[in-house]
Amino acid sequence: MKGEYQITETLDVKGLSCPMPIVKTKQAIDPLDAGSVLEVVSTDSGSMSDIKGWADGTGGVELLEQSEDTEGGDAVYKHYVKKTE
C-alpha cells in the first residue's frame, strides 16, 4: 500500500507507553486538514492494537496501514492514519 498516499506529518512517540501514543495521535491529527495522512512512530507493542481500536472507534479517521520494523535492534511500530473529514 505504501506509495499510494503522501505522508503529511510524522509523529514520534518512541519511548512513550499507553495511553500516550493514542492521546498524542489524537492531538496531532486534530489540526490537520481532511485528506492528510499522519505517520505515527511508536516503540509500544500495544500501539498495534490500540491505534487500530482508536481508529475503529473514532469518527473522521481511517487507519490505512500498520507495519513493524526494527531500528537499531529495537522494534518500531508505524501507523498511517488518514483524516477523512
Binding site: L16, S17, M20, V23, D44, W54, T58
Partner: protein, 188 residues
C-alpha cells in the same frame, strides 16, 4: 374486520398513516443514536499511587476517542486532584500479594516509601506518564475532573488545593445524572 373505511386499493388509511408515523419516528431515533457522542463516568474512590493510574489513563484515552468524560473523585480519590498530595501518593507494601516481601517486613516504617520509589523508577524507565502529566493531559483534552463537595469538607480540604480546572461544588446527584446518560460507568 376493521371498521375503518378501506381505501380504493384495499389498504386501511389509518393503519398506513400510523405505519408512516412510526417509520419516521424510528428514522429520527436512529439519527439521534448515531449523532450521540459516547459518554463515560468514572467514580474514583482510591488515593494510592497504583489506583490513581486506571481512572486517569481511561479518562484521557476516552477523551482521545472524542467521548464526553466525567471522573467523579470522592473520599481518597480526592487526593489525585489535590495539587500537593497528588505528588506524594504512596504504593502500599502491606496486604499486596504481588509485592515480593512478606507482610511482616512490608509493615516496617519506610517500606511504603521504598515500594513507591521503586515503582516510580520503573514508571520512568518504561516511559509511562506521571500522575501529574495524566492530570494535565486529561484537563487539556476536556475531561471533567470533579471533586465531590461533601468529601472536600469531610477531609477538610480547600477548593484552592486542587489543580486549576478541577470542578468543585458537585455531589452525588450530579454524578448520577451523568452516569444515567453514560455508555460506560466504572467505580475504581
Amino acid at each position: 374486520m376493521s371498521t375503518d373505511t378501506p381505501t380504493a386499493d384495499g389498504t386501511d388509511a389509518a393503519l398506513t398513516a400510523r405505519i408512516e408515523a412510526l417509520e419516521s419516528e424510528i428514522a429520527d431515533l436512529k439519527a439521534d443514536a448515531g449523532d450521540k457522542q459516547k459518554q463515560m463516568t468514572i467514580v474514583a474512590t482510591k488515593g494510592s499511587f497504583d489506583m490513581a493510574y486506571p481512572p486517569l489513563i481511561l479518562a484521557s484515552t476516552a477523551a482521545a476517542f472524542g467521548w464526553d468524560v466525567v471522573v467523579f473523585h470522592t473520599f481518597w480519590g480526592l487526593d489525585i486532584l489535590h495539587e500537593e498530595k497528588s505528588k506524594n501518593l504512596k504504593l502500599s507494601a502491606v496486604g499486596n500479594p504481588s509485592m515480593p516481601m512478606p507482610n511482616a517486613l512490608a509493615a516496617l516504617p519506610g517500606m511504603d516509601s521504598l515500594a513507591t520509589r521503586m515503582m516510580e523508577k520503573r514508571i520512568e524507565e518504561n516511559g509511562t506518564a506521571t500522575i501529574e502529566e495524566l492530570i494535565d493531559l486529561s484537563l487539556e483534552t476536556g475531561v471533567d475532573l470533579q471533586a465531590c463537595q461533601m468529601t472536600i469538607e469531610l477531609m477538610d480540604y480547600d477548593e484552592d488545593d486542587f489543580y486549576d480546572g478541577v470542578t468543585t461544588g458537585v455531589g452525588a446527584a450530579t454524578a448520577l445524572n451523568h452516569m444515567a446518560d453514560s455508555d460506560v460507568q466504572l467505580l475504581i
